[in-house]
């Protein structure tokens, strides 16, 4: 496996008419797992389409696997497996035909593509539904089908645009487990484009944050998530009375909406023991006590607000 980064963009700008989708961005997408995060319209999908050669950037250089993109766009494109955000429904095709068609479009022979299609559909868990017409698939199964279509030619890199969009919790979990398995077992590099930050936290080592066509942050994910030990989320059963007593003793309390959950900011010198003592005295039984770490969502909100208020700020 070659070690060149998946892509390197140098001062890439892309405009649709007068709207600027990407504003002179330079970034590197390393091997491994990269999360591409941003609001709607931040330029995520445009970036993916540029990597795929579907759009030619208005300005700037794009290098994919260490090769200039425009030199060999069609051969480079086959090393990607692209799962689009929009559902491209080709009505009246069966699931297996849809996936095989995808393989054939990448250049596989007809028989190979059908063999792979059956195999990949089994892998994503659609084995029993493969002969159904595509338009009858539920949301969750459609997403799996799209993943299968992106996997059929066994690409090195998966470009996933909102893979968990519209899925219910079990479906989302199943999709993420599938992706985790692919990353671990199939040794795939992944570029995950999403605004569900939980997904990025779960899958990705690196993260690129885009806001309004600019790069707000790029680099490893870990440093973004700092732990704050003086803040706790608690949930309990029983009365709310103990909160009142805590407040009297100087604890900052942000109550949750449904009455048995709160965010506590402990003053210095407090230990959790004291918390339990107060709870015990007033008949509350804690069943959750979680130190609050700043999650990607709030980091992201902070960074993108900064970028919005100050257009020149760049990380």
């Amino acid at each position: 496996m070659c070690e060149a980064p998946v892509a390197r963009l140098t001062e890439v700008t892309h405009r649709y008419g007068s709207t600027v989708a990407l504003d002179c961005i330079s970034l590197q997408l390393p091997r491994g797992t990269v999360g591409l995060v941003g609001n709607n319209g931040a330029g995520k999908s445009t970036l993916l389409k540029i990597l795929l050669g579907m759009l030619r950037p208005s300005q700037g250089q794009v290098e994919v696997f260490g090769v200039q993109l425009h030199q060999a766009a069609s051969t480079l494109r086959r090393r990607f497996g692209y799962m689009a955000e929009a559902d491209a429904v080709l009505p009246l095709l069966q699931g297996v035909e849809y996936v095989a068609l995808s393989g054939q479009l990448y250049g596989m022979s007809r028989r190979q593509s059908f063999r792979r299609a059956h195999e990949v559909l089994g892998y994503v868990g659609l084995g029993e539904l493969r002969y159904r017409p595509v338009e009858q698939y539920s949301r969750g199964n459609l997403q799996r089908l799209k993943l299968a279509a992106a996997l059929v030619h066994d690409p090195d890199v998966l470009l996933l645009d909102e893979p968990t969009n519209g899925l219910d919790p079990p479906g989302r979990d199943a999709m993420l487990r599938l992706l985790e398995d692919l990353i671990a077992q199939g040794q795939k590099s992944v570029v995950l484009c999403t605004h569900l930050l939980g997904d990025v936290q779960r899958l990705c080592e690196h993260v690129v944050i885009l806001a309004r066509g600019r790069v707000v942050y790029q680099g490893p994910l870990a440093p973004l998530l700092q732990l704050r030990t003086d803040q706790y989320l608690v949930r309990w059963q029983g009365s709310q009375e103990w909160l009142h007593h805590l407040r009297c003793q100087g604890v900052q309390i942000t109550p949750g909406a449904n009455g048995s959950q709160a965010l506590l900011g402990l003053p210095s010198g407090w230990s959790t023991q004291r918390l339990f003592q107060v709870a015990q005295q007033h008949g509350a039984i804690l069943h959750t006590l979680r130190p609050v770490e700043e999650d990607l969502q709030s980091v992201f909100l902070r960074l993108s607000e900064k970028a919005n208020s100050d257009p020149k700020a760049e990380a």
């Binding site: 559902d87 429904v89 338009e135 949301r139």
Partner: protein, 259 residues
């Protein structure tokens, strides 16, 4: 009652606006314009100076322009363009949900859509026909006076029938195209009673009877019906389709397919 009127008026008005400013109008204007230019050249074949020449021109004009181009082609196409998209457009684009969850009685939604689409079909065909007749000169004016009524009821019947299709079947446009192209073009020209399935047949019969005193005669295998029965049939189709579409919309459930 007043609030119902406001709501219904808005429905008719917006539907009318959407239909008129749609790509269909533009597309229909092309054949209409082509038809008018055609007549502009066509009339040069006739002198139309003497009364008997006018009558000769009138007979020819009836056969080629009125029957072949207006009734058999323009009328179905206009009805197809507007009739099936008034309500069918809402069904296909999935915007019908927004109408069905408003406090308007369901039958009045059908009525409102009908009130927007069918007059548009009538006015468009009438407009095109009037233009064509005016361009034709004296013979054309004769044709307008004679044929405006059959054309009116033809347009009403066509429009209402396509409106019914739109409330009833799942792909009204597809069924409408099959009807317009196959039933009208194929069955309408077949021998025997099979052509009574086509609305155009009644309009043509009516026209042939009206034109008979001036030497307009139907083609060989065409067995025309009396004008009065034609008129009543067309009126019955119009009213029947309207009533049926109101009833269908009142009772039918429209479930949006996920796409």
């Amino acid at each position: 009652m007043k609030s119902w009127w406001y709501a219904w008026r808005a429905l008719v008005w917006v539907t009318l606006g959407r239909l008129w400013w749609s790509v269909h109008t533009l597309l229909l204007l092309f054949p209409t314009a082509a038809l008018m230019l055609f007549v502009l050249r066509y009339r040069e074949r006739f002198a139309q100076a003497q009364p008997e020449q006018v009558i000769e021109a009138f007979a020819q004009f009836t056969q080629t322009v009125v029957v072949m181009l207006v009734v058999s082609f323009l009328l179905p196409v206009v009805a197809l363009g507007f009739g099936t998209t008034g309500l069918g457009g809402d069904r296909e684009e999935g915007t019908l949900v927004f109408l069905l969850t408003r406090p308007l009685p369901r039958w009045s939604i059908a009525l409102g859509k009908w009130a927007a689409t069918v007059p548009l079909v009538v006015l468009f065909t009438w407009g095109a026909f009037a233009g064509v007749c005016w361009l034709m000169g004296p013979a054309g004016r004769m044709a307008w006076r004679g044929y405006a009524l059959p054309l009116f009821w033809g347009a009403m019947a066509y429009g209402s029938f396509f409106h019914l299709l739109a409330t009833w079947v799942r792909y009204p446009t597809v069924v409408g195209v099959v009807y317009a192209l196959f039933v009208e073009a194929l069955l309408g020209n077949m021998p025997g009673v099979i052509k009574r399935f086509s609305i155009g047949y009644y309009v043509r019969s009516w026209i042939y009877e009206l034109g008979a005193p001036w030497g307009v005669s139907p083609p060989e295998m065409f067995v025309p019906l009396e004008a009065t029965s034609c008129a009543w049939t067309l009126i019955a189709i119009t009213l029947g389709s309207l009533a049926l579409s109101a009833w269908v919309l009142q009772t039918k459930e429209y479930i949006q397919q996920e796409r």
